[in-house]
């Protein structure tokens, strides 16, 4: 901000009359390419999806007519729909906690100022660069009941074998462990960046007061990170609600539907059952859930910052 430019009149004031229309034109002109994609591939499908949910549309082409909210009524009475929604929520709860806590621990450890920073970052973050299918192949192999590395380790220390992906009581936890390994690096990076933005003076003042590293973490680092933590938790909840890939690839929703998330149910009713209308209705119920959760989060964060 050099002072010499401040005295000069702003270009807006120099414009001739008629520049208003020109601004409108160039504004929408710049927005146009994005808008075209936005309207065609986001706005239209979301509206059309709602229309589809009110029809009996199927991939076989039968019954395209409007049937009102019959699909919604059917979905709300569909035990499989509720079960898959329950699985999604269950996964969201049990995955968000470790995905935030482990990320915080990783970042806190590195923030102490360990040597060879790149090495730690690489090992914690690298899995995030993998496609879900790679992660699923790795973990399906490690979870293998007879030949898997994990059961080999368990029997080595005298524990019984676990049927990881084949036991309805364990399968979801197996998915959580794989997900933790895969994506915790992302939250870790966000925490690390936030920690490095905490001004050093805070720590200097505290250590002059005789606060040890442990106390500094709880009285300075953690409170300073509150906004970051809130954001990470919110993003993680929204990400976890969309769970599909790992489950579909590792358990295919099994055993006995015990891990099938709602996105997989949408996928199956649409593409295996060919019932596009019904599938669209379930999509909208899921969308409604996400909107409600987002609004709740918005209200909570607003209150917090107010």
């Amino acid at each position: 901000m050099s002072t010499s430019t401040l005295s000069r009149p702003r270009p807006e004031n120099l414009r001739k009359p008629g520049s208003r229309t020109r601004s409108n034109l160039s504004g929408w002109g710049f927005a146009a390419p994005f808008l075209v994609f936005f309207l065609v591939f986001l706005v239209w499908p979301i509206l059309y999806g709602f229309y589809m949910s009110l029809t009996g549309k199927s991939l076989t082409g039968a019954n395209d007519s409007l049937i009102g909210f019959a699909n919604y009524a059917e979905a709300l009475a569909d035990a499989d729909m509720w079960r898959s929604l329950g699985n999604t929520l269950y996964f969201t709860v049990i995955s968000t906690v470790p995905l935030v806590l482990v990320a915080l621990v990783m970042a806190a450890l590195l923030n102490i100022g360990l040597p060879a920073q790149w090495l730690w970052r690489l090992s914690y973050f690298a899995p995030y660069l993998l496609a879900s299918t790679v992660v699923s192949l790795f973990f399906t192999w490690m979870y293998n009941p007879q030949l898997g590395l994990i059961n080999e380790f368990l029997t080595g220390i005298g524990l019984p074998r676990v049927a990881w992906l084949n036991d309805p009581n364990v399968a979801m936890w197996a998915v959580v462990i794989a997900t933790l390994w895969w994506t915790v690096g992302f939250n870790f990076l966000l925490y690390l960046a936030a920690m490095q933005n905490i001004p050093a003076q805070h720590y200097e003042a505290a250590s002059l007061d005789g606060a040890g590293a442990w106390r500094q973490f709880f009285s300075i680092t953690l409170p300073q990170l509150t906004p970051t933590t809130v954001m990470i938790v919110l993003l993680q909840i929204l990400a976890s609600l969309k769970i599909f890939d790992q489950v579909y690839q590792m358990t295919a929703g099994g055993p006995g539907g015990s891990t099938r998330p709602v996105v997989q149910y949408i996928f199956e009713t649409g593409f295996t059952g060919y019932r596009l209308g019904y599938s669209a209705a379930i999509s909208y119920i899921f969308f409604g859930l996400i909107v409600v959760i987002s609004i709740m989060q918005f209200v909570i964060t607003r209150r917090r910052s107010a």
Binding site: S2, T5, R8, P11, L14, N24, L25, S26, G27, W28, F30, A31, P33, F34, L35, F38, F41, L42, W44, I46, G49, M52, V105, L114, P115, W120, R121, S123, Y124, P127, L129, L130, A131, T133, V134, F138, Q146, L147, L190, H202, E204, A205, S207, L208, A211, S219, I220, M231, L235, L238, K242, F244, I266, G270, F271, A280, S283, Y284, F287, I290
Partner: protein, 300 residues
Amino acid sequence: MATPTLTRPAPNATTGNSLKVRQPRKKMTAGRIAAIVVAAFIAVLWLIPFAWATATAFKTETDAAAPDVTWLPPSGFTPEAFVKVFQDGNIPLWTWNSLYTSAAITAITLVISALVAYALSRIDFKGKKVLMTVIIASIIIPPPVLIIPLFYQMLALQLIDTSWAIILPQVIHPAMVFVLKKFFDQIPRELEEAAVMDGASRLRIFTQIILPLSRPILAAVAIFVFIGAWNNFLWPFIATNDGNLLTLPVGLQTIKSAYGIQYAQNMASALLAALPLIVVFLFFQRQIIKGVATTGLAGT
């Protein structure tokens, strides 16, 4: 948020002390050693899946499926599985498909997002507020909700089983528009004024002044979008059945059924699929980490 330790003015904290305070933090205290041990323990845990996949991929199929689970196979290590996967596999084709679709998605996203972000940041036009609200609101739409109508739309447009079906729906990143807008907002307007006086057009100002100054954020957005597109599974899985168009993540899903219990080949394929991004990461670690950290909080 202000704890007593933060607000209280520390005595003697004015000059010269910053060095004194910092030095003890670098010393090898018991606490630091403990931290290294814990960090190393986690790092080892995190590397085990890679290590085990690598060990398996270099075994013979017989050794990989032997009931004796061991890191060191009796018949020694061999690149057999990699050779086999390369010979009859489609990994190079899938890698190429992933590369060009992800590159196209990234390029289109960057161009259209930067243009609209510039308009939102710098131009006063009628309807700007409405546009901004609609784009912000759209961040909430979860992609899985769109799969059914998008599939139907792609059928209608006759794009199913073309690369366009994979590319086009993935170029809308409302959150990235705001990451870019926020960055543009911080560029001092004075830099553009001289150009405006010279009668330069908006497009010229955008391409010759704004874009060159925005390289770091453009790189960050590009990295974020590219990684997302490269690894996306659900939509490309739905959009193509054509074996020649499969992306790497989708192609890999077909391997499991094709190779079945050929564990060494499974792991060799997975590692080959993982390799490109890991290598890129090794070279551009700093930029990627910065990119993810700056765009990450904006939403995925």
